[in-house]
């Protein structure tokens, strides 16, 4: 291609741009103005989409139709189980977790052995995946750069080795620029998010071009494909094995979290838990968009190249080239390069951290060399180890590519890695939710799963490429057929991935659970299990303080921090810690359990929790806590928690009870006041007639010469006031009985019409005396109500006597009407008296509040008739009220509900 050197220039420029973006992101982070927004976080998760997605999916679709989608549907479902991710993030933040190996090791008692095992599995497992990237980029590079079909070479090195070397240099420059390796890499995450955008745009551009320019849209493509019998089967899922589909779904759901680079971006690089809220749908949306055109591209490639032997894994490049769109091919190459570099950078950084912290450090810590080494600052060493690890991992990737890469399509290679990292799932998820899981169990489970994976997946991949003898795959080792690598115990009929997943999980989970149940955890494991499983409860680090006992010197601790973090960072951390504890000079800090915990987690950030623990115990004289002691402390802690929760709820109950008491007291006080008022009023009402009686009696007694007219007048007054007094006392007693609920009620069928007529007859003489007209309107057919006949009569008599009292003599008119009003009988007593104002209408039902101001009315009433009547009516479930206006008479109305008919 003529554009070869031009392409090289663009690639260099693109990588330079990535550098600039990462720099900018880091600068912003240093300035405290992070540019990691929820969107950036979500895009950075799309580092999941590698060359596999960019190149491999199309290749896969040419043979498997839509089955390539499982790799993206699994992660979509996984994202919905966001609670698991949040718990993982919470734990990692609380205990300064730096990698997936660190996470697992920390959970199972900060075990160096376990950390090393996880690291080995991760490196071996991921190497094929890195080889995949190399293969894809090399293929693309050869296509664009080489002169059509002649692989490019330079000084005897093939393209792949050159690309591996270039990527190693780039990653070392890019990912380990910082001396400190503990903090988050915000610049890196920003650059990865940018790369995600580039690869999405590039892929969609090619998709749109092929679909709408080279063909006439989706419909056209699908129709033309349907016309060919070979292509038509790609448009259905027929011929797919459900077992494969489901295995891939499960595998990808696990891989999206447990691949070292995914764990890095999702968990370690997470700035804020709330970012997940966006990622939970934006990341799946990204996956959906980047996959829409995969099948159209595959079909387009197959249709366009027909029978020619074109590599479907690079259709993304060859299709635009075939249509003469070289610029688009170049854009696609940049997109593919983005996908590959993003994956390689993050994956190797994550792996190199693991290799450094969990493989090399433990060896160094044991070696005499480190002890002899006088240099106090080891942080430069840490960095060097990481850089070497990056180079080594890429070298391994290249070696695998040479050994096995040619025999597989891209996706096939990637799935080998997926199956490897899936082995982490049982111990990691189990560790988060199952306290009984032990280190022995985790070791057993991981080892068993890994061995089965290696035997059924990795080894056959070498065999397939002819690098080793394939006999054990086809015939079984030493001819033992039930040990055939891809049909263990005769389990045939499955594809290799499902076969591997089934057997490796069976071994993994079986060993993990079985051994966990059979072994007893040590003190440290119990403590860690508690912290991981109950991370949401240990918001305060209470148990951390209790689970460490011993002493250490500040000088030694400081030297230790300086050694691994570097002098400046160590001082920064100490200053921050001192400030948090209100100590001006960190040299005055007390070396207590909390300080030791702080130092250990600061170290853990740099060298992993297992190594950090070893280092801290090397300088701190630690009192060894026995398992029983730890269990006791945890027991106490949980008891304390239970107590405090109980206490809290008791306190709440107490507060509620206090409030209730206060309210009751207020009510009582109010009642007391009302009673006081009532007694005062009653006293007044009783004293008034007594006053007249006493005055009259004394006057008659003192002066026997009073004339007869006055004498009989006075005696008359005494008699009527005595009557008033008796009436008053009776009504007060009646009222008291009604109010206290001690009144005796009878209940019988009462015919209201009869009752009204009788009451009217009783009072007829009163009306006749005052010459007041009394009329009624009573229908014939009225159903009976359930009530106390005497009480109801009392109400009616009260209303009638009130009416006759207030109407003017001579022209007064009172009319009683009875009617059915909805579910009740309604009785109205209307008069043409002076009427009541709105205020009066309200108060006349209160005790001792009489209507009317004129002197003549006064002695007649006690002020208790209406309140008593209301009590009676309300007892039967009815209502008593007045409708009136001044000068327009008053109508007193009461209702008595009709009995509810039996249903």
């Amino acid at each position: 291609m003529t554009s070869g050197w031009w392409l090289a220039l663009v690639v260099v420029a693109y990588l330079g741009l990535l550098f600039a973006i990462a720099r900018y992101g880091d600068a912003r982070a240093d300035a405290g103005r992070s540019i990691i927004t929820p969107n950036v976080y979500a895009l950075s998760l799309a580092v999941y989409c590698t060359s596999w997605t960019f190149f491999g999916s199309v290749g896969r679709a040419t043979s498997g139709g839509l089955s390539f989608l499982t790799i993206y549907l699994g992660p979509t479902l996984m994202c919905l189980f966001v609670g698991v991710l949040i718990k993982m993030i919470r734990i990692s933040k609380a205990y300064r977790i730096t990698s997936i190996a660190d996470f697992i090791a920390s959970r199972y008692g900060k075990s160096q052995l376990l950390a090393g095992l996880v690291t080995v599995i991760a490196v071996i497992g991921v190497v094929p995946y890195i080889a995949l990237q190399l293969k894809a980029v090399a293929a693309g590079f050869d296509l664009l750069f080489g002169a059509g079909g002649h692989p490019f070479s330079w000084w005897g090195f093939d393209t792949t080795s050159l690309i591996a070397a270039a990527l190693a240099v780039f990653t070392i420059l890019f990912g380990t620029r910082h001396l400190d390796a503990t903090e988050r890499h915000e610049g890196l995450v920003t650059a990865i998010a940018f790369e995600s955008l580039v690869k999405l745009l590039a892929f969609m551009a090619v998709g749109v071009f092929v679909t709408f320019v080279m063909f006439d849209g989706l419909g056209d493509l699908f129709q033309r494909a349907a016309a060919s019998p070979e292509l038509a089967q790609l448009l259905t899922l027929e011929g797919q094995r459900p077992s494969t589909w489901i295995s891939l779904l499960l595998l990808s759901a696990l891989a999206v979290v447990f691949l070292p680079r995914q764990f890095q971006v999702i968990v370690v690089e997470n700035v804020d838990e709330s970012h997940l809220r966006r990622a939970v749908w934006l990341f799946p949306l990204y996956l959906l968009l980047i996959n829409i055109f995969v099948l159209p591209l595959a079909l387009g490639g197959l249709l366009h190249f027909g029978g020619q032997a074109a590599d479907p894994d690079i259709f993304v490049l060859t299709l635009p080239l075939a249509a003469g769109a070289e610029w688009l091919a170049m854009l696609a190459f940049i997109g593919g390069l983005s996908a590959a570099t993003g994956m390689v950078i993050v994956e190797t950084i994550a792996l190199s951290t693991m290799v450094c912290n969990d493989l090399v450090m433990p060896m160094l810590l044991r070696s005499t060399w480190l002890k002899a080494e006088k240099s106090p600052d080891l942080s430069h060493w840490l960095l060097l180890i990481r850089r070497l690890a990056i180079g080594l991992i890429l070298l391994l990737g290249y070696i695998y590519f040479r050994a096995a890469g040619e025999a597989y399509a891209l996706v096939g290679i990637g799935l080998i890695s997926f199956a490897a990292v899936a082995q982490f799932a049982p111990v990691l998820l189990g560790g988060m939710y199952w306290k009984l899981a032990t280190r022995q169990g985790a070791l057993a489970g991981l080892t068993a799963g890994f061995v089965v994976w290696a035997y059924t997946m990795l080894w056959p991949s070498f065999a397939r490429s002819g690098w080793i003898d394939a006999g054990f795959v086809e015939l079984g080792p030493f001819g033992i057929t039930w040990l055939k690598a891809q049909a263990l115990f005769g389990l045939g009929g499955l594809d290799e991935i499902t076969h591997c997943l089934w057997w490796s999980f069976l071994a993994n989970i079986g060993a993990y659970v079985g051994v966990s149940l059979a072994t007893r955890p040590d003190a440290l494991e119990v403590g860690q299990a508690e912290r991981f499983v109950d991370v949401f409860r240990y918001a305060r680090r209470l148990p951390d303080l209790q689970l460490w006992r011993g002493d250490a010197s500040l000088h030694e601790m400081h030297a230790l921090l300086e050694r691994f973090l570097g002098a400046a960072r160590a001082r920064d951390q100490l200053l921050t810690y001192a400030r948090r504890h209100g100590v001006a000079d960190w040299r005055n800090l007390a070396v207590d359990a909390e300080f030791v915990h702080f130092a250990e987690s600061a170290l853990a950030g740099a060298i992993g929790s297992a190594s950090a623990r070893v280092m801290v115990s090397s300088v701190a004289r630690e009192e060894h806590l026995g398992l029983d002691e730890v269990l006791n402390i945890l027991d106490e802690a949980s008891q304390v928690r239970a107590y405090s929760r109980e206490l809290e709820s008791k306190q709440q109950a107490l507060e509620a009870a206090t409030a209730e008491l206060r309210a009751a007291n207020d009510r009582l006080r109010e009642l007391d006041r009302l009673k006081d008022d009532f007694i005062s009023t009653v006293t007044h009402e009783l004293r008034t007639p007594l006053t007249s009686i006493r005055a009259m009696s004394e006057m008659l007694y003192d002066d026997p010469r009073i004339d007869l007219v006055s004498r009989s007048r006075f005696l008359g007054i005494i008699v009527s006031e005595t009557e008033r007094l008796s009436r008053l006392i009776n009504q007060i007693l009646d009222m008291a009985k009604l109010e206290s609920g001690r009144a005796e009620w009878t209940s019988s069928e009462v015919h209201v019409a009869d009752l009204v007529r009788e009451s009217m007859a009783t009072l007829e003489h009163l009306f006749r005396e005052k010459q007041v007209e009394l009329s009624s309107d009573i229908p014939d057919q009225l159903p009976p109500v359930l009530a106390d006949r005497d009480r109801l009569t009392q109400v009616l008599v009260n209303l009638l006597s009130n009416a006759v009292k207030f109407v003017p003599g001579g022209q007064g008119r009172v009319r009683v009407s009875v009617a059915i009003d909805g579910p009740a009988i309604r009785v109205a007593v209307a008069d043409n008296g002076p009427g009541l104002t709105a205020d009066e209408s309200a108060v006349i039902f209160e005790k001792f509040r009489q209507g009317g101001n004129t002197m003549t009315d006064k002695p007649q009433g006690t002020g208790l008739g209406l309140p008593i009547s209301r009590q009676i009516v309300e007892y039967f479930g009815g209502k008593l009220w007045v409708e009136s206006a001044p000068g327009a008479g008053a109508t007193f109305i009461f209702t008595v509900p009709l009995p509810v008919p039996d249903a």
Partner: protein, 64 residues
């Protein structure tokens, strides 16, 4: 934040709904053409998009 977060639980419910919709035997159902496109293509992307929209709605609602 407690474990029993209602939005998280709704998302999990959505995930539990998605599992049967995106695996066998339901996947055997879409046959032939829908809207001029292969039925399974429309079905897979439709369900997928629906899950994403549901997740977006649940996750981004105020008050989580």
């Amino acid at each position: 934040m407690k474990n029993a977060n209602p939005a998280r639980q709704r998302l999990v419910a959505l995930g539990l709904l998605g599992i049967p919709l995106l695996s066998y035997p339901v996947l055997g159902l879409p046959q032939g053409d829908w809207l001029g496109l292969p039925a399974i293509f429309v079905y897979l992307f439709g369900v997928w998009g629906g899950l994403i929209a549901g997740a977006a709605w649940l996750a981004e609602r105020q008050g989580r």
